[in-house]
Symmetry: C2
Subunit: 334 residues, 2 copies
DNA sequence: CTGAAAGCGCTTACAG
DNA sequence: CTGAAAGCGCTTACAG
């Protein structure tokens, strides 16, 4: 691997000049430039990125820390972030925290030491504000809300509205015995959805019925079982997210409970998979790609010194009606 | 952010000594060491990784290039690779090539320039040998076979055996009109599976029936449609992989074709999702975690100068019988 | 056991 | 427009 010094030697110029034609940071005599370019082409020279990072104190790396890409929601989010990062000329380092605050901190530490320019994180820390304050590089919080709205940049969907929409939909579909499977309440996303559910219940004169559930398949399977035992008359289930909804459908199918005739199910996220399941899932759609793209755009702007108009971006959700709920004949359910 | 020079100053030693206590590369007087450690602790000093990379010409980064983590098979593979990499003290940079050779080359180039220590890749290049030859850093090929077995390190499942097992199973289940949805033949994985299918067909006196299909949901949907039109009497479908199998099940369900009573379906991969679908998928299980772990272990060994006994590792596959096939009553199908 | 010095391969004021 | 020099923050022979 040739170095800039070697190119300089062959082109009869100084390394500084080679650097200038490489980066276009200063005017270079066209003759000289052509000579340098020729040598670069002939040798197949490619500048060492590490050396560049060190002298510029910037690596053009954006770190992205998510709970785990095993969750399709985060896979899709990560893809959107990666795509936008690359469009902006940044490399993406994807890190899975496995919901472990220690791993999360270790990754942040690693990224700082790698001269990462920015971090996008779905933190699992209860107090994420401290974490953000301590971070010397631009950071944006994904999917969840920093405890004080003003403390950090964040982009997420309107989970409260999502909780409302889902509940209202089940009510509209004739459900009278709705149970919500609540995600971990330490996450504002889960808390907001629950709040939306409770508010609608109150407005409609229904008693909130709740079961705790993690955001994964395994717990979804487990909690659906206990839910059915605890609430034998349930006629509508609000799953914690799509992945849990998939588990719900699985358990109901195994017990030969007809969906949506006996029990209707609504998910949350609208991951790609939700339309492919059988039956296709009614769910609350988050604008996943938009969230990821916006998060990456914001860090990139921040890195490049562009001020951001708002610290907090809350994107709208939408109800996506498919086959696990039936608006058509609400009277059938009476 | 303090530097090693600053720590040295405060501890009244040279930067070299600080480096020695940090890395344990040489004996240091216990007194001195304690003093240095104390300063490090008090200042919260963390060495800059970029500077270390530059002087050591090693970044402890392993690059992993896959078609796309949107495919759950690669998500699971990537998680296994990441876990093993971290266990060995390497960071993982995950890159999605989107099956685009140009992107693939761009990523390899980037990784080399970042002083990456090794690369794990599921290449989409037709001639991957050239690519491997040109790469100055240790590389292992994932999931697919280099054209000349000896040219590179590779780890993959026994796709030929997989093709055989799947076909034999459908025959055992009473299918007489089996259609194979073949993945892109430029990939040895797809080619080997097809070969297994054809060999079993010949042995059993069946006529091979084939439909081309990409390894994704969208094409799975499309090709299932055309398959049903082209082969109206089909009673067994060998999907290109699990993701395609999911599409097959989706289309059959939409057309109210009973599974497995009228058509039986076998997937390939045994991604986590395959057991959660309804009906649960019969499939050929690849040892996904083992493949990923082994690939990461091999690059790590290579980086650390440990010779590898074999260039090529082919791991066994297994038939996983679930609900989309029915071995129980083969006579029902006559 | 320890330090001064050179080096990793770039970039960037500074001077001309 | 161009080069010499210093610097980014580490590591590592080399000498003592």
């Amino acid at each position: 691997m040739a170095t800039i010094r070697e190119i300089a030697r062959q082109a009869h110029v100084s390394p500084a000049t080679v650097s200038r034609v490489l980066n276009g940071t200063a005017a270079v005599d066209p003759q000289t430039e052509a000579r340098v370019l020729k040598v670069i082409r002939e040798t197949g020279y490619r500048p060492n990125e590490v050396a560049r990072s060190l002298s510029k104190r910037s690596s053009r790396i954006i770190g992205c820390i998510v709970p785990t890409i095993a969750n399709p929601f985060f896979t899709e989010l990560a893809r959107a972030i990666e795509d936008e990062s690359f469009r902006r000329g940044y490399k993406l380092i994807l890190c899975n925290s496995d919901e472990d605050p220690a791993k999360e901190e270790a990754y942040i530490d690693m990224l700082e030491r790698m001269n990462a320019d920015g971090i996008i994180i779905t933190t699992t820390h209860e107090d994420m504000d401290a974490l953000i304050k301590a971070c010397p590089i631009p950071m944006v919080i994904l999917d969840r809300a920093p405890s004080q709205e003003t403390a950090a940049y964040s982009v997420r969907a309107d989970h409260y509205q999502g909780g409302r929409l889902a509940t209202e939909h089940l009510v509209d579909c004739g459900c009278q015995n709705i149970v919500m499977m609540c995600g971990p309440q330490k996450y504002t996303s889960a808390a907001k959805r629950l709040q939306g559910y409770r508010d609608v219940c109150r407005e409609k004169g229904l008693v909130p019925q709740e079961v705790d559930c993690d955001f994964d398949f395994a717990d979804g399977l487990l909690k659906t079982d206990s839910l059915l035992r605890q609430f034998p008359d349930v006629d509508g289930i609000l799953a914690a997210n799509d992945v849990v909804a998939l588990s719900v459908v699985k358990v109901l199918a195994a017990q030969k409970v007809p969906i949506p005739d006996q029990i209707q199910v609504v998910g949350f996220d609208n991951i790609y998979l939700s339309q492919l399941m059988t039956p296709a899932l009614t769910t609350i759609g988050q604008p996943i790609t938009a969230i990821g793209t916006m998060a990456a755009a914001i860090v990139a702007d921040l890195v490049e010194g562009q001020a951001q108009p708002q610290k907090t971006r809350v994107l709208p959700v939408e109800l996506v009606i498919r086959e696990t709920s039936c608006l058509q004949n609400p009277e059938d359910k009476q």
